[in-house]
């Protein structure tokens, strides 16, 4: 059986009478402005932000796992993970493979640079809920509308953050990862 396609039909339900919004017929959702949400996240501590992000990503990964599993292909994952992320209004997701390194790109996030840490947390949660892998997502590059997020282990994430802080470009960092990863 093939892998179902992501169908967002009647995923979002507005009950105008009751004044509730639900996503895929489950818990109710609140429509909040993005900048207000960004400013709220900016005033919260790191743990709160991380916890908020992980809980959103876990919800996203639950709905992905209902339709696909670990044997899904990369495009399937991209289709389904990206669709869910789109339904919450956090942009459009894609994958990039840089050697052996997995880089997730998110384009059009309303939270812009202040929302990169939120996105990193959501992906960590989703990958953990959907594929059972504990990972660390590190924003490695940000332009006006696109952000690249590297998916590595927690230790590697610290080294990459160090490289990036010393001025190493994300490409060199990825090259280093691939070289070190090749000699080992």
């Amino acid at each position: 059986m093939g892998t179902p396609r992501f169908d967002p039909t009647h995923s979002l339900e507005f009950n105008f009478d009751r004044g509730t919004v639900k996503l895929g017929g489950q818990s109710e959702r609140v429509l909040v402005p993005a900048d207000v949400l960004a400013s709220l996240l900016k005033g919260a501590d790191a743990d709160t932000r991380k916890d908020f992000a992980h809980r959103l990503g876990t919800e996203v990964g639950r709905r992905v796992s209902e339709r696909i599993d670990g044997t899904a292909s990369i495009p399937t994952v991209v289709e389904h993970l990206g669709g869910e992320l789109a339904l919450i209004g956090l942009g459009s997701l894609a994958f990039e493979r840089w050697g052996r390194a997995l880089v997730v790109t998110v384009m059009g996030s309303p939270l812009r640079g202040e929302g990169d840490e939120l996105l990193a947390g959501i992906l960590e949660g989703a990958l953990q809920r959907a594929f059972g892998r504990v990972s660390a997502v590190v924003p490695i590059q940000r332009d006006d509308s696109l952000v690249r997020l590297l998916v590595v282990s927690k230790g590697t994430a610290e080294r990459v953050r160090g490289w990036l802080a010393s001025g190493v470009s994300f490409g060199d960092a990825l090259a280093r990862l691939n070289g070190a990863g090749g000699s080992s």
Partner: protein, 325 residues
């Protein structure tokens, strides 16, 4: 007057003296006037370097020639000395028991003339002293110089012996001059005169030939007067000179101020056997020695390591690969 002429005249004089000694003599009153003109004419001092213990007797060898008086010569005949000295010399009389050979009575006595009085001195006299002595009308007893050893002529043999002994005491022994032995002495011949040959015993008659152990005959000795041994104490000769230096003691090597390093000694930093480093002159340092890298051939220097292009089949593979980095 050459030395040879002097010798000849001395020989003649000696012969005459010998002849006269055997004859009885008249009082020697004529001696004084004979000596006076001599003294007045040329009272030259007789310089004698070596003192003679027997100045009185005149040794007579068969052909002995008394040496003219250079300073280092043998003693001068006392007869000549007497002529040069004062006129108060007592007449000489031979001792009856002496070994002096008596003069034959048939031979008339010979008077000494002025010609016989020869000047035996060869040393030029000092001019002031000579002039003063010549001008002195009186005959004065000249004191012998310190280096001379003249003695007055004794009237008798006893006086001669006593004077000889006294001279030994009085005479100042010069330094570096060993005292002569008493007794007969060998005359030192002057230069140019050959020593008389010893008589060949084989030619002599058996009556004359004597064993050598008995000594010479009275005829050979002639008027030799044996003198008694000197009663004076032995003359101590002070040999002046530097004390005998001690032999230089070799300094042991360890006493040197600076001990030179030896080859066997651990020098530490210096090895005498080690050849010194060759000195390179500035002219030799012209072109440096260049060493180039060798050419490398063959091996592939470039090796590209490519990442595997096979995409992961499943997303989980990609996720796992990324997490493995």
């Amino acid at each position: 007057m050459t030395p040879r002429e002097q010798i000849v005249r001395l020989e003649g004089l000696l012969d005459r003296i010998t002849k006269n000694a055997t004859r009885p003599r008249a009082p020697r009153t004529s001696v004084k006037p004979a000596t006076a003109p001599f003294v007045a004419a040329a009272p030259e001092p007789v310089v004698e370097a070596t003192p003679a213990p027997a100045p009185v007797a005149v040794e007579r060898a068969p052909s002995a020639v008394p040496a003219p008086p250079p300073p280092s010569a043998a003693p001068v005949p006392p007869r000549v000395e007497a002529a040069a000295q004062s006129s108060s010399v007592p007449p000489w009389k031979p001792e009856p028991a002496s070994t002096v050979q008596a003069r034959p009575s048939t031979i008339p006595p010979e008077e000494l003339s002025e010609d016989d009085l020869i000047d035996v001195t060869t040393v030029p006299p000092p001019e002031p002293a000579a002039a003063a002595a010549a001008s002195a009308p009186e005959v004065e007893i000249e004191e012998p110089p310190a280096s001379s050893s003249r003695s007055k002529v004794a009237e008798s043999l006893d006086q001669a012996i006593a004077s000889a002994a006294a001279q030994v005491d009085e005479r100042e022994v010069p330094i570096h001059t060993p005292p002569p032995e008493s007794g007969p002495q060998e005359a030192v011949l002057p230069a140019g005169i050959e020593a008389p040959r010893a008589p060949d015993l084989d030619d002599l008659e058996p009556a004359v030939a004597r064993p050598a152990s008995l000594g010479p005959t009275p005829e050979q000795l002639g008027e030799t007067i044996e003198l008694e041994g000197s009663e004076s104490p032995d003359i101590e000769i002070e040999v002046a000179g530097l004390p005998t230096p001690e032999p230089a003691r070799e300094r042991p090597p360890e006493e040197l101020e600076v001990t030179l390093p030896r080859a066997e000694m651990p020098s530490g930093t210096y090895d005498v056997d080690e050849e010194p480093a060759p000195v390179i002159s500035a002219s030799e340092v012209g072109v440096p020695e260049i060493t180039l890298r060798p050419a490398i051939e063959g091996p592939e220097i470039t090796h590209v390591v490519r990442v595997s292009e096979k995409a992961p089949e499943h997303f989980s593979e990609l996720l796992d690969a990324s997490l493995a980095l």
